[in-house]
Amino acid sequence: MWIDEILMREDILSLKNQAISQINLAKTSEELEEIRISYLGRSGKLTELFKNISALKSDDKKLNGLLLNQAKATLTSTIASRKNSLKESARDWFDPTVPGTKPGIGHLHLVTQAIDEIARTFTQIGFVRVRYPEVEWDWFAFEGLNMPKDHPARDEWETFFVDALPSPDFGQMVLTPHTSSGQIREMQRVKLPPVRMINIAKCYRRQIDASHVPMFHQFEGLVVDRNISVVNLKGTLDYFARNFFGKERKTRLRPFHFQFTEPSFEVDVSCGICDGRGCKLCKEGWLELGGAGMVHPLVLKNGGINPDKYTGFAFGWGVERTFMMKAGLSIPDIRLLYSSDLRFLKQF
């Protein structure tokens, strides 16, 4: 069966015009829906014409197909704009301001967020993340770090002792009071420098009040290689400060003392609130980050590394404190971090 293509073109145009005039007269969205169905529905008038196309010659197919698609698009958009121009009462009522139904939102703990970010910052410059025993021998925690028994320097580390038989070689069993106990373990693992370690772990100290908890986290950096100097320590700390705190931030070193580093430093970072000019939150423009130093030759030796060939630096800071300084969080009681209060946990 051949259909006259001219006739078809006219059919399309007149159907289109007829539909448009009906649309413009429609008063309600129901009426518009009826019109839509009668032209564009499964057996609508325009839809029927589509079915006839297959019977045309190929040139005509193309032309009529184009016309039909144009007509369809025009009707669809005319219906839509007519719907919008109807009075609100005549439209379908929908309230898009009703809050959405959220999926259950999970939360990673602040400490996890902090650890991930710290680890990422250091692994970018070739540090290898490790972790070492949380229950450790005294030798790794103190003695091997040049802190003999009965040394007053140990006062700073309020240590928990485990009620266990001491090791003949390594002394008492303790809960590691700092990540520095990983220094010798790492040197023993790597054996031959380069060492670039970032050790992030739980630590324990016998103290509890609003700013101390018996369990907390530290991150320890250790770099040992040929010709490592204070210049490289400063470079690394500044890199960390720029990446972690922001590109304007700087660090500075002040003299301090640790038995396992020489020279030893206290590290400050410039205050982000006042840009180092000095404000209520900082000390003359600086905030204390934590300790650092050049690895003591005795410690290198205890780690099996020749101090005549190699030098190194180390630093070890509190994860919680460092992260709170970054995020500008002031959590008045650090114990809240280790509580299970949903109202707290859901904030992060």
């Binding site: 259950g104 009965d150 009620d163 809960l175 369990m215 070193l253 003299p255 020279p263 299970s340």
Partner: protein, 644 residues
Amino acid sequence: MNILIPDDWLRDYLKTPATSKQIAECLSLSGPSVEKFENNVYFIEVTTNRVDCASVFGIAHEAAAILPTFGYKATLKKIPLLSYKLKSRVKYLTVKIDQDLCFRFSAVLIKNVRISDSPLWLRQRLLNVGVRPINNIVDISNYIMHEIGQPVHTFDFRKIGKSKMLLRPSDKGEKITTLDGKTHILAGGDIVIEDGYGKLIDLAGIMGGENSAVDVNTKDVLLFVQTYNPISIRKTSMSLAKRSEASELFEKGLDPELVPFGISLGIGLLSKITGGKADSDILDIYAKPYQKKTVLVGLEFIEKHIGIKLNRNEISTILTALGFTTKWKVDNLEVSVPSFRSGDIKGPVDIVEEIARLYGYYKIPSELMTGLLPEPLINSPFAFETKIKNILKGYGGIEIYTLSLVDKNSVLKSGALKLKNPLGTDSEYLRTSLSPSLVKAGNDNSGEENPFHLFELANTYIPNGRHLPQEVMTLAGIMVNTTFVKARGIIEALLAELHSSIGLIPEEGADFLPGKRLVLKYSKKEIGEFGELENGYFFYKIRVEDLRKTSIETGRFFPLPIYPPQIEDLTLNFPEKTKIGEVIEAIKAVDKLLGEVRIIGTYKNNYTFRFWYQHSNKTLTNSEVQSVRNNILKMLNDKFGAFQ
């Protein structure tokens, strides 16, 4: 230790135009840290190795060396030293001392003192350093200690029985009452002084005895200045939990060369303020006088550690200002260490520190190291742990960190590590399981009516004979206000996302409701558990390393089917108490042409299953499908008594 230094007192020894703010800043950058400056007092933190700085004079000495490096003139005034005869025997006192306990023992008799209040200026200075004035004798001792960092004691001379002193280690169980009225039972090995009647009159280096203390009737005093063995002092002070300003100084190892200055200042002040008259003979027992020690260090060594080039003059100037003497032999430096630094200067790196800090840490450039990168850690666990946490977070899980220290009832009866010095009985053991902590975390949120899911990744500590405990990284979680099927779904989804092929096998277990526990198994090895606890919480725990071994990082690839599956739904009725998990496993085992089976609806004992029949390289015919279907239905009827 933290010390207080009044600015006016400091300037007795330090002549400088620098303001107090400038002094504070320079000290902090190159010496002891000034924490704050308030009411004309510096609050200074002195590190344990620098006990020589723990006084007005010590700080003046540091400041005099540091200020010029910042361009401020500064000179140090010396401590006046009176010329008296130092003798190893005196008429007024017989002593016998253990020289391993007391490195320098010196004393002088001062007669006819008048006890009264101290003059105002002295009281004011003591108040400024936080010391309560008592009377002129005691105040003078405290004054000297703060001025030069050397503790000084005074005995009422007439209370020393037979004018005899025996300085010895204590015996275990001996008792002494100190001048604060407290009685101590000694552990043995403490430094004590016994008089001629055999009674203890001094807990040396810690606090004087009550029975020999100066009082209002005191006429003659024995001025007493010593250097004690720091380790003995520390042991006593730790074992009696008794700290005094004197013990804090002694335990850090004082310079014996400071003793004559203490005596000299003491005689001067006692005669000026109390009118007392010192005997012309001063007892001074000093068996091993300080031998100058030298440290050798090369220029290259110094430059290599600091990372900058320095010239020899610069180095000498710095060290000389700090009280060292230097001698260059080409590029090798011989440093002679003054007595007051002999405790902390032990080797070349200690010299490096002195040079670097006075050169100015702030002037040292900042550069990342170059050189080879280390090898990665083999089998690193961190990425997997992060992945687990993120997956659970995605399912609405909330991560918690709970204390690893728990009470006795929370650990395995078979054994757990106990602390020697816990903070309390509620945190006396290292946990062997995370479940008590998580149940407690659930209970802490008992007001919450909506479903919630808490999880934690942490070590449990399993005793391991004479070795360090095994630290087992464990994932555990608790789901509250939910259903078994939903909670189980979380575990299944986690395993699916990790591409783990762990099975969930019903098995009864303690603490779980009967029939409501599943064991996570991988080739017959138990690696975790899940189920409903007696309190209605759903709890799970999995050993993370075992889980990692059963997981693959990326999913496996199977070619996509080219031919469409045939899909049909069948509803079957099962007898009561049929385990549908087993039914599904059995259906899957019938024929490999059955690609997938799922439950799409249940009503009482009727279950509607949807079956996907699929062949990898053709479209299945109706009769092929029918044959599979018949086998399934027959099996379900034979094995489970199910019918359509």
